[in-house]
């Protein structure tokens, strides 16, 4: 078994799987169960300032989209930060941390954008013995209407300012949680770094309406016939999160800034992908909400097996794919591949044919007996056939060797060459 123990900005945990600040981490009962199930860490659901507790809606809080067999692919929520009194949460946090000293316990915070408010809450949190704080600049619903959550996360100057307050008023590691509801994720990350953040975590949820009820014409989840946008998460958001994580990991100004990866992590494989793109650990919510806390056991065994098979340490995995994330303009235009359909594993559904014939390049031939073959003289290697094929591995992309002629273009496959030097590019520079 590979060693999965993790040290994220000085916060130690037996594995890199943390539960994200969310409904599963709202109280002692859940957090104890999570630790017992094997979670390496927990980010306690966001605390607000002292005073009358937050009020939630009393109708449905979640909406969902499903794939085949009603597999939950995306979840959206309109729940606010914890609606339990601050002192109850603090008491429970202290007790839990005392009972599980080897597990990471980070407290998520969201108070108004005033230094006094932060000065008031930070000592109370620090006193619990928690390992760190995560600043919730991400929630896109409800609290943002009150100038908190993503309303802060969408203004880099506010991020920097609040982060600085936190670092000045506590000794705890500070993780800044970012909202994806912006145009360039690097800007808020840079702001957090300037403010002194120890790390960023992302993504928080995405503005969303999951569906519309076609009888009542209310968005879902519906509260008495009305709906407000919620925050979208789950497997469906993973590609968006991976891209944003990679942008921070490779960004000039943010390179080296520790990242806690969040967004649709459901299996060990998802976690490994986040980590390869630069995340030091991952946070999970929807998978736990869908399947229960036990899912972490598959993540642990899977990641461990993967590291063993590769013969690498967890720390070797982190950031390993980052150098391979580049801009389109640097992609090798002399990398030529052609689809190959394995007749032995083909089940003859013809989806590749329909996709290619109707919506792509008419590069798949349907022959007698439903035999499907690729016409190399038409195949642009778009990959759509592979994407729609129900049988994994049935269709593959095979690169043409250097020196071979691409029957589609008639061009000989040459050495690496990209758009920056391409003759069709009016901005092309001579190769150096």
């Amino acid at each position: 078994m590979a060693d999965l123990s993790s040290n994220f900005v000085g916060i130690k945990s037996p594995n890199p799987f943390w539960l994200a600040s969310a409904p599963p981490t709202d109280k002692e009962y859940n957090v104890r169960r999570a630790y017992e199930a094997g979670w390496g860490g927990v980010v306690w659901k966001t605390l607000g300032e002292a005073g009358p507790p937050i009020v939630n809606v009393n109708g449905p809080r979640y909406g969902a989209i499903w794939g085949a067999d009603r597999r939950l692919l995306g979840l959206n929520n309109i729940e606010l930060i914890t609606d339990r009194p601050l002192e109850v949460n603090l008491r429970e946090i202290k007790q839990v941390k005392r009972d599980y000293p080897d597990r990471a316990l980070v407290v998520s915070l969201m108070v108004p954008c005033e230094e006094a408010a932060w000065k008031a809450i930070l000592p109370l949190v620090e006193e619990t013995g928690t390992d760190g704080v995560e600043l919730n600049f991400g929630c896109p619903h409800g609290m943002s209407e009150r100038g908190m959550g993503s309303a802060v996360g969408q203004v880099p100057e506010y991020i920097e300012m609040v982060t600085r307050w936190v670092k000045q008023n506590s000794r705890m590691p500070c993780i800044v949680k970012l909202t994806p509801n912006i145009t360039d994720i690097r800007k808020p990350a840079e702001a957090a770094k300037r403010g002194g953040a120890d790390a960023v975590s992302l993504i928080n949820t995405i503005n969303s309406i999951t569906s519309v009820n076609l009888d009542s014409f209310s968005p879902e989840p519906s509260i008495d016939g009305k709906g407000a946008h919620g925050g979208y998460c789950g497997p469906a958001v993973k590609p968006i999160a991976l891209s944003m994580v990679s942008e921070i990991a490779r960004g000039e100004a943010t390179r080296g800034l520790p990242i806690s990866g969040i967004g649709g992590v459901t299996t060990w494989r998802d976690a490994a992908e986040f980590m390869a793109l630069g995340a030091g650990n991952v946070q999970v919510c929807t998978a736990a909400m869908t399947y229960g806390f036990k899912v972490v056991q598959e993540m642990i065994s899977g990641l461990s097996e993967y590291l063993d098979d590769k013969g690498i340490a967890l720390s070797d995995l982190v950031g390993r794919a980052v150098p391979n994330v580049t801009d389109w303009q640097y992609l090798n235009l002399n990398y030529v591949t052609k689809a190959r359909i394995d007749p032995a594993s083909c089940i003859k559904c013809g989806r590749c044919y329909a996709a290619c014939e109707d919506t792509s390049h008419q590069a798949i031939l349907m022959k007698e007996g439903r035999v499907f073959e690729v016409d190399d003289s038409e195949c642009v290697a778009c990959n759509l056939c592979i994407d729609v094929c129900p049988v994994e591995g049935c269709i593959t992309m095979e690169p043409l060797a250097k020196g071979a002629t691409d029957p589609r273009t008639g061009a000989v496959v040459g050495d690496y060459a990209n758009w920056t030097t391409h003759p069709n590019n009016p901005m092309a520079r001579a190769a150096e």
Partner: protein
């Protein structure tokens, strides 16, 4: 009633009413909404789908399954019924394991096809439960067409003609319409009077006048029909039954399986239906299986199907043979009856072993006997009562691809016509296609 499976002779009431009700309940109960959703999710929406190609009526199966998956089962039902107006019955009786489901790519991939037949039943049940009728008639053409035989071919032809605006008189020699759907299918495949309910629903299209008790050659002549109507369609089925040609065949309790099945379908009280203690069924097709299984379900102690060739040559599908075996029916192959023993009534049947060689079937000198107090003959039906004017080929009415017979103005389809394969679904396709050709000939 004190009879049991062990009571000698051919007697009624071998099983209690509750056991009979259980035995003859729906063999493939309908999918509920959730089950249908899960089953529909498995369809890959194949291009030029093999299932559709395999369906004699060319139902757009991927489309109707997608319509179920998206919560529009009624639209799914219309997709089915627009190609096959007896889609409800076909969903129950089609040997899907040798048609659409055999070629399903998920059969190829995992050995588990999408449950097309059950999904088809789900969708057609939704349409029929809604009441009314999903199709409307075109403007009246003023043409009148005689359809002879109210079985699957005739019903399908009549419905399509009515849809196209023609007026139809649908004749049948039996007291009820439905043909083999009503008289010839195992009871557990079409429970709760489904066949009649489907006929009633189909007739809601309007423009179809049903005249039962009118048989061609007895009450009707082709000449008179031709004179009175603009076109004639014959869907008269195969009314004759092949003989065993075994000595002693005339003994009592040696019956045609089709009559037994018809009696069983028409009885109001299964407990009043007599069945032997030791039943022997001779034949290898669906009729043999239906007769054998139902004998067993009525309480016969032993039921044996004997088929003269190897199992691979049996007309009954693997699924049907397994069904028979699971109900306790024994299947013997490569044996043919040579003598029926007994007094007035059958007591046993003597069989010779056979060998199916390149030169045909040869009989071994070795024989064996099976105890039998009831014997059902299920060795095939034959054309009976076809008008002499029609050209006959291979024992069936000769037709072209559109169903035209050798006599102008006369079409034929279903089991009586050349090219059929004795399936309900094929009969439906032929009836429908003949209707389209009649329409083209009359108004095209």
């Amino acid at each position: 009633m004190s009879n049991t499976p062990l009571t000698p002779g051919v007697v009624p009431g071998r099983l209690a009413a509750s056991a009979l009700a259980e035995n003859f309940s729906d063999i493939a109960p309908p999918l509920d909404r959730h089950e249908a959703q899960v089953a529909a999710d498995r369809c890959y929406f194949c291009y030029d789908a093999p299932c559709t190609v395999a369906c004699p009526t060319s139902i757009d199966i991927p489309l109707f399954i997608r319509q179920i998956a998206t919560g529009t089962a009624e639209a799914a039902g219309r997709t089915i019924l627009s190609q096959n107006i007896l889609g409800g019955m076909c969903a129950r009786v089609c040997p899907t394991e040798t048609l659409c489901e055999e070629v399903c790519v998920r059969e190829t991939a995992e050995g588990k096809p999408v449950e097309i037949g059950r999904l088809q039943r789900f969708a057609t049940d939704v349409v029929m439960a809604k009441g009314g009728h999903p199709f409307a008639r075109a403007a009246a053409t003023g043409k009148r067409i005689a359809v002879v035989g109210a079985g699957p071919a005739g019903l399908s032809c009549a419905h399509r003609l009515a849809m196209l605006g023609h007026d139809v008189v649908l004749f049948d020699g039996r007291p009820k319409a439905g043909g083999l759907n009503e008289f010839g299918i195992a009871a557990y495949k079409a429970v709760e009077g489904f066949a009649q309910a489907e006929v009633d629903w189909l007739l809601h299209i309007g423009g179809i006048e049903v005249e039962t008790g009118k048989r061609l050659g007895r009450d009707l002549t082709l000449e008179a029909l031709k004179a009175e109507f603009d076109a004639v369609f014959l869907g008269i089925g195969l009314a004759g039954v092949n003989a065993l040609r075994a000595e002693g065949e005339g003994r009592a309790q040696v019956r045609d399986a089709v009559d037994f099945i018809a009696d069983l379908r028409q009885t109001a009280d299964l407990g009043a239906l007599a069945v032997g203690r030791d039943v022997v069924v001779i034949g290898g097709g669906m009729t043999a299986v239906d007769a054998a299984v139902q004998s067993k379900l009525l309480g016969a102690e032993t039921v044996t199907i004997v088929y003269r060739r190897g199992a691979d040559r049996m007309g009954a599908s693997g699924y049907e043979r397994e069904l028979a075996a699971s109900k306790g029916v024994r299947i013997l192959t490569n044996a043919t009856p040579i003598r029926v023993h007994g007094g007035d009534t059958v007591e046993s049947v003597e069989f010779a072993y056979t060998e199916d060689g390149p030169g045909g079937l040869t009989l071994s000198s070795e024989t064996f006997r099976l105890k039998a107090d009831q014997v059902f003959k299920a060795i095939g039906q034959k054309l009976d009562g076809a008008p002499e004017a029609l050209k006959i080929e291979g024992g069936k009415i000769a037709t072209d691809a559109a169903g035209r017979t050798s006599v102008a103005g006369v079409w034929a389809g279903g089991d009586c016509a050349l090219g059929g394969d004795d399936l309900t679904v094929t009969a439906v396709a032929q009836g429908r296609d003949a209707a389209l050709d009649i329409h083209a000939a009359l108004v095209g």
